[in-house]
């Protein structure tokens, strides 16, 4: 896999010494705004397993990239992916479950040739626990990549056998990271048990300003165990926008670094120190630009996060 493009913004030496004195990096997001004024320092976050930095906002492909062989829509999705990379994105997440999405991503990547910018993340989606490699190979052929950066067990389907195989594949250099996924708040107890005992690089779960169950145990556990967290359904499949359609962005949103509702929802998520990357999905270039805006500017602190929760809950 080619070299990944990551943000290289650095803190000034004075602020660096202060933060080092404070200690654990997990406190960074909870400090008063004046200490998070290093505007682009949070545009990426490290993967705990290696320290490799990932942009906070990635791209999901559920529904949005399942366009079959439609030439018009394929062209649009290719442009969308180009915009995504130009705006600083890297992680693209897909799955064999998503219909033709993997094939569409592959065709778009072949047209763009931006493999150096891509952090390729997909999933194994089969109950046959002996078919991990076959599934990965089939997906790799569709994506047009030699290997995946991240391979995840989709919705914990056959996770025990697949996880063993993923470890072997990682040891052989066939993948770089391994992980598990859930969504819609399903099977959190089981995920917690697995996270507590099994070495994992990534977990993917649902977390947003209304769906905060993961805050109770999974996010703290991920921090404790050094597991990166990818957040799916950051907008509840679009329902969060429906909820706020008639409501104005609060006038204090700019204090929290939010210029629009997409940044509001995404910055809430990525301001949690356990979150490595959120993966909104969209088909619209304008919406993509709004999503990627969450890579820039300040992040809300704890007080502001609570205010965001209360405001959305009140709508």
């Amino acid at each position: 896999m080619g070299q990944k493009r990551v943000s290289t913004q650095r803190l000034n030496p004075g602020r660096r010494r202060l933060l080092q004195a404070v200690g654990a990096g997990g406190l960074l997001a909870w400090l008063p705004p004046v200490f998070s004024a290093a505007e682009n320092a949070h545009a990426t976050r490290p993967i705990p397993a290696t320290g490799e930095r990932l942009p906070l906002i990635g791209m999901g492909t559920w529904r949005t990239f399942n366009v079959g062989a439609d030439p018009q829509l394929l062209k649009q999705r290719t442009q969308l992916l180009a915009d995504f990379f130009d705006l600083g994105g890297s992680l693209v997440d897909s799955s064999p479950m998503y219909g033709s999405a993997e094939a569409v991503v592959g065709k778009a990547m072949a047209a763009l040739g931006r493999f150096d910018a891509l952090f390729a993340a997909t999933k194994v989606w089969t109950g046959d626990e002996t078919a991990t490699r076959q599934s990965a190979d089939a997906s790799a052929a569709l994506w047009g990549v030699e290997r995946f950066d991240l391979l995840q067990v989709h919705n914990l389907l056959g996770w025990e056998g697949h996880l063993d195989n993923l470890r072997a594949m990682k040891a052989a250099g066939r993948i770089r990271y391994l992980g598990l996924t859930t969504s819609h708040g399903r099977r959190h107890a089981e995920l917690e048990r697995i996270m507590s005992g099994a070495p994992l690089d990534f977990v993917q779960l649902t977390y947003n300003v209304l769906d905060r169950e993961a805050e109770q145990r999974l996010l703290p556990l991920a921090q404790e165990r050094g597991i990166a967290v990818i957040v799916n359904r950051p907008f509840q499949g679009g329902r969060l926008f429906d909820r706020v359609r008639s409501s104005p962005l609060p006038d204090w949103a700019s204090e929290a670094g939010c210029a629009n509702w997409a940044e509001f929802f995404l910055k809430f998520i990525v301001s949690h120190p356990a979150v490595t990357c959120a993966i909104p999905a969209t088909t619209q270039r304008a919406h993509l630009r709004e999503n990627m805006g969450a890579l820039h500017g300040r992040l809300p602190d704890r007080r502001q996060r609570q205010r965001m929760i209360d405001y959305v809950a009140s709508i």
């Binding site: 366009v67 079959g68 018009q72 219909g99 708040g185 088909t283």
Partner: protein, 219 residues
């Protein structure tokens, strides 16, 4: 965190409507053939000789088969997992209609009733032009599943009840599935067509149909 119906959808409304646009663009101007056959059906089913009614069943069967191949397998199945199985059900429906044509063609139908049936079918198809669809995304009978199923159900209502249940299952199940799909996609106009089809199908379960005295002896 609850599931909504649309959480199970694999594609967006845009992608779905583009399926119909792509089919129409690919086939243009040969839509004239299934439409022409559709307009011929009233004449065929009103003939005294059973051969006309057998031919009408063959035309309907051809519509199911072409829908299965051209729309469902080529366009819809790549973006929606269940469609592959439904496409084979559509082929099976074509086979059932051919079997009925061969062994027990329906009774004669008056040309006025048959023409009304065709007009209603085309009218319901035209409803899909309302809302989000453009004329490029109209789903024509004999090429796309909902309108093909609705036209078939109208035909079943106009004929005797003898073997109706045999060929009723696939259209009714498909239209129920399609109604849920359109509802989840927020495509109201398309949902009207599907809903009309479901209602027609349920009525067809109990509707006695015309009197057998219109029939001629089967040869």
């Amino acid at each position: 965190m609850d599931y909504a119906l649309r959480d199970f959808l694999m594609f967006t409304p845009e992608v779905y409507l583009r399926l119909f646009e792509r089919l129409n663009a690919a086939l243009w101007p040969w839509q004239i053939i299934p439409l022409g056959l559709l307009l011929l059906l009233p004449t065929l089913v009103s003939l005294a000789q059973p051969v006309g009614r057998r031919l009408a069943m063959v035309v309907l069967a051809a519509g199911w088969a072409s829908t299965a191949r051209l729309f469902m397998q080529d366009l819809y199945a790549p973006i929606n997992w269940p469609i592959s199985a439904f496409s084979w059900a559509f082929f099976a429906e074509a086979g059932l209609l051919l079997a009925v044509a061969l062994w027990s063609p329906p009774g004669r139908v008056s040309v006025a009733v048959a023409r009304t049936w065709i007009l209603v079918g085309l009218g319901l198809t035209a409803v899909t032009l309302l809302g989000q669809a453009s004329w490029r995304s109209v789903g024509w009978p004999g090429l796309t599943p909902d309108s093909t199923a609705v036209v078939t159900l109208l035909f079943l209502l106009a004929t005797t009840r003898r073997w109706r249940w045999v060929v009723l299952a696939v259209p009714l199940v498909w239209l129920g599935f399609s109604l849920l799909t359109h509802w989840a996609l927020g495509l109201t106009a398309q949902a009207v067509l599907s809903l009309a089809g479901v209602i027609l199908g349920l009525v067809a379960l109990v509707w006695p149909g015309p009197r057998e005295t219109l029939s001629r002896p089967i040869r």
